[in-house]
C-alpha cells in the first residue's frame, strides 16, 4: 500500500511538471481557447471537412466515456454502443414526441442514458472482469433489437432526428454541416473539460485507486461498489450524448446504426490512443474517421478487389489495436518514458 502511494505521488508529480492541464483555471482557459480556435477553424474549411470534423468530435465523446469507465475506473465494457443507442433514441423521442429543442434533446440523451447506466451499473456492480464484459456484450447485441418490440421506437426503419434548420440569425450562408460541427465540437469540449475535471478530482483518484487495487481501496474506506456505479452512470451519460450526436449527424436513429462493431470500434479507438489519458480522445476520434479515408487512398494506389475495399478499414483498425497493445499498452506517451 505504501509503495503504491509512492508511485501515485511520483506520477502526479510528473503530471504537474509535464501536463498543462493541472489546475481548474488552466483547464477552463484551454476549454475557452480551444472553443475559439475551433470557431475560427470552422470558417476556413470546406463543408465535407466540417462534416467529418463533427464525426471526429462525436467519436471523441464516445471514446471519453470509455476512458472514464475502463481507463479510470477499470471496468471493461463491450457494450457502449448500446448506451449510445439509449441516448440516441431518447434524443429522437424528445424532438419528435415532446417537440422540444434539439439541444434539450441532447441533454435528455445524456440524462436518460446516464439513468440507464445508473440502473445497469447497480446491477453489475459486483461483477468483475469477464462477467462484466459478458454482460455488456449481451447488452450490445440485444438492446438495438428491442426497437422492434416497441412501435414507439420506430422498428427497423427507426426514427428521424432532425435538428431543424440552422438558426436564422446566422444567415442563409450558414450551412447545416457547420451547425453540426459547432454543436458536436462544443459538446466534445464540454465533455473533455468535464471528464478532465473528474479525473483530477477526488473522484478520479478514488477511481484509479479502485482500479489498481480494489481491496486496498476498500480498506481505505472507499465504497467500491458505489464508486463503480457512479463511474458507470457518468460514463453512460457521456456515451448517450455521443449517441445523440451521432444520430444528429446521420439525421436518424435505427437499430442498424448501433451494431456490436460500434462498441468494439470505440474500445479500439480508446486503446490505440491511450486508455489512461484524455489527451488522446481527439486523436482517437480522428483515427476512427481517418482510417476509412486512408484505406481508400491505399486502394486507389495499389488497386484491389471490392473485397479488399470493404475489409481493409476493419483490418487497419484491428492491426492498430494489436500494435497498440503490444507496443504502447499504457498509452503512447509511455514510449518516451524510460524504465527506471
Amino acid at each position: 500500500m505504501l509503495k503504491h502511494r509512492k508511485k501515485e505521488d511520483k506520477k502526479d508529480h510528473k503530471k504537474k511538471s509535464h501536463s498543462s492541464i493541472d489546475s481548474p483555471r488552466k483547464r477552463l482557459f484551454l476549454f475557452i481557447l480551444g472553443g475559439w480556435l475551433l470557431l475560427l477553424l470552422s470558417n476556413q474549411v470546406d463543408e465535407f471537412s466540417l462534416y467529418q470534423g463533427a464525426f471526429v468530435a462525436t467519436y471523441a465523446v464516445g471514446i471519453a466515456s470509455i476512458i472514464l469507465l475502463t481507463g479510470y475506473s477499470g471496468q471493461l465494457s463491450l457494450g457502449h454502443g448500446a448506451l449510445m443507442a439509449v441516448g440516441a433514441y431518447a434524443g429522437a423521442l424528445t424532438i419528435n414526441n415532446l417537440k422540444w429543442h434539439p439541444v434539450v434533446a441532447l441533454i435528455m440523451a445524456t440524462l436518460i442514458a446516464g439513468l440507464f447506466g445508473l440502473l445497469l451499473g447497480a446491477a453489475v456492480a459486483r461483477f468483475s472482469g469477464p462477467y462484466l464484459a459478458g454482460t455488456t456484450l449481451a447488452l450490445a447485441i440485444s438492446l438495438p433489437s428491442l426497437a422492434n418490440q416497441f412501435p414507439i421506437l420506430g422498428g427497423q426503419q427507426g426514427l428521424i432526428f432532425d435538428v431543424g434548420a440552422t438558426p436564422a440569425r446566422f444567415g442563409d450562408e450558414f450551412s447545416p454541416y457547420k451547425w453540426f460541427f459547432w454543436i458536436a465540437a462544443l459538446a466534445a469540449l464540454i465533455i473533455i473539460w468535464f471528464v478532465a475535471n473528474i479525473a483530477a478530482s477526488r473522484f478520479g483518484r478514488t477511481f484509479r485507486a479502485m482500479r489498481d487495487n480494489p481491496i486496498a481501496a476498500q480498506l481505505c474506506g472507499v465504497n467500491v461498489a458505489r464508486q463503480k456505479v457512479t463511474a458507470f452512470a457518468i460514463s453512460s451519460g457521456v456515451a448517450g450524448l455521443s449517441g445523440g450526436l451521432l444520430v444528429m449527424l446521420i439525421t436518424g436513429v435505427s437499430p442498424s446504426a448501433f451494431p456490436l462493431s460500434l462498441s468494439l470500434l470505440l474500445l479500439s479507438g480508446a486503446v490505440v490512443t491511450g486508455l489512461y489519458n484524455l489527451k488522446g480522445v481527439i486523436l482517437g476520434g480522428l483515427v476512427l474517421v481517418v482510417i476509412p479515408e486512408i484505406a481508400e487512398s491505399l486502394l486507389t494506389r495499389i488497386g484491389g478487389s471490392e473485397n479488399l475495399a470493404i475489409s481493409l478499414p476493419g483490418f487497419l483498425v484491428s492491426a492498430l489495436l494489436i500494435l497498440a497493445v503490444m507496443f504502447t499498452p499504457n498509452g503512447p506517451e509511455h514510449i518516451f518514458k524510460r524504465k527506471h
Partner: protein, 298 residues
C-alpha cells in the same frame, strides 16, 4: 404436445452447439485467464477451410476432420506466437488485466478482415451431410431434423471424449493441474507452457467442430460465428467459467430459454432473452451457476 417436444429437441440441439463454443472459451479461460474473442474468427476460418475441402472433394466428412485438425493447429499457433509474446511484453500497468482480451478482439478483427479479402463477404453454403428437413413423427412434421439429431449426437460424443481425456489420462491431469496452479505444476516438472498450448489446440478443435455443425443450418460469411461466440460466452458465464460441466449446463439453460421463448412467445426476442437470462443468473449467483469458492475475480 408436439410443440413442446419440438421445443425441447431444438433446445437440446442449439444448446449443444452453444456448449461447444462455451467449452472452447472455458478451456482457454482456465488455462490462460483470457476470454478468447478470436474464437469466433478461428471457428469461422476453419469452417471456410472445411468449405474449400468440400469444394475439392465433395465430402462433408473429410471437411469435418479437416476443420477439427486445422482448428487445433490454428489454436496452438495463436497461443504460441500471439498470446505468449503479448504476455511477455505487457507485464505492468493497469492494462495488464485487459490487454490480452483486447488483443483477442484485435485478432478477431484481423482474421475476419482477411477472410473477407480472400473469400469475399457473400454468403456461402455448406450442405448438411444428412437431411435438414423436419422429421416426420406420427404424421406431423416437427422442426427437428436428422441433421439436428446428428449435431446432438456428435456433441455428446465429443463431451464424452473430452471428459475421458481430462479425468482419465495423464495429459488430462496435466491440463487440469496447470489450470488450477501453474506454479505448483511447474515446480512438479510439468511443462506448463506446452500444456497451455495444448489447451488452446483442444479449444480450437472444439471451435472447428462447432462451425461445421452450425453452418449447414445457415450461411457462411466472415461474421457468421460472431453470434455463436456471444451465446457461447454468455453460456460460459452462466455456468461459471470454471468448469466444463458449468459450460454445458449454462449452454443448456441458454438454449432452452431462447428456444422456448421463440417457440411460445415471439421469434424476435432471441437476444433480449439471452441478456435477461444472463443478468438473472448473475444477480442470483454472481459467480455463475457452478463456480466454486474461487469467486468471480480474475
Amino acid at each position: 404436445m408436439t410443440q413442446f417436444i419440438t421445443a425441447v429437441l431444438t433446445s437440446l440441439s442449439s444448446g449443444a452447439i452453444y456448449a461447444l463454443m462455451a467449452l472452447a472459451l472455458v478451456l482457454v479461460w482456465r488455462s490462460t485467464r483470457v476470454v478468447n474473442f478470436a474464437q469466433a474468427g478461428q471457428a469461422v476460418l476453419t469452417t471456410y477451410i472445411g468449405y474449400e475441402v468440400i469444394q475439392r472433394t465433395g465430402s462433408y466428412w473429410i471437411a469435418l476432420v479437416a476443420a477439427i485438425i486445422s482448428g487445433a493447429i490454428i489454436g496452438a499457433f495463436i497461443d504460441r506466437f500471439f498470446m505468449r509474446p503479448i504476455f511477455k511484453r505487457v507485464t505492468s500497468g493497469p492494462i495488464v488485466l485487459i490487454a490480452p482480451v483486447v488483443a483477442t478482439l484485435g485478432l478477431l478483427g484481423i482474421i475476419e478482415a482477411v477472410i473477407g479479402i480472400v473469400w469475399g463477404l457473400n454468403n456461402q453454403s455448406i450442405e448438411p451431410p444428412v437431411s435438414n428437413a423436419g422429421l416426420n413423427v406420427n404424421g406431423t412434421v416437427i422442426a427437428f431434423s436428422l441433421f439436428n439429431a446428428f449435431v446432438l449426437g456428435t456433441v455428446a460424443l465429443a463431451m464424452i471424449l473430452l471428459t475421458l481425456l481430462f479425468q482419465k489420462t495423464n495429459i488430462g491431469l496435466a491440463l487440469r493441474a496447470s489450470a488450477y496452479s501453474p506454479e505448483i505444476s511447474k515446480l512438479s516438472g510439468i511443462k506448463v507452457d506446452m500444456v497451455r498450448t495444448l489447451g488452446w489446440a483442444i479449444s480450437g478443435a472444439a471451435g472447428g467442430l462447432a462451425g461445421m455443425l452450425y453452418v449447414p443450418s445457415t450461411y457462411l460469411f466472415p461474421n457468421a460465428m460472431d453470434i455463436l461466440l456471444v451465446f457461447g460466452f454468455i453460456a460460459a458465464v452462466i455456468g461459471g467459467l470454471e468448469s466444463m460441466v458449468g459450460a454445458v449446463a449454462g449452454a443448456m439453460v441458454l438454449g432452452f430459454a431462447i428456444n422456448f421463448v421463440t417457440t411460445y412467445i415471439s421469434t424476435t426476442l432471441v437476444f433480449p432473452t439471452a441478456f435477461v437470462v444472463l443478468i438473472l443468473v448473475l444477480l442470483i449467483r454472481p459467480s455463475g451457476l457452478f463456480a466454486g469458492k474461487k469467486g468471480r475475480s480474475a
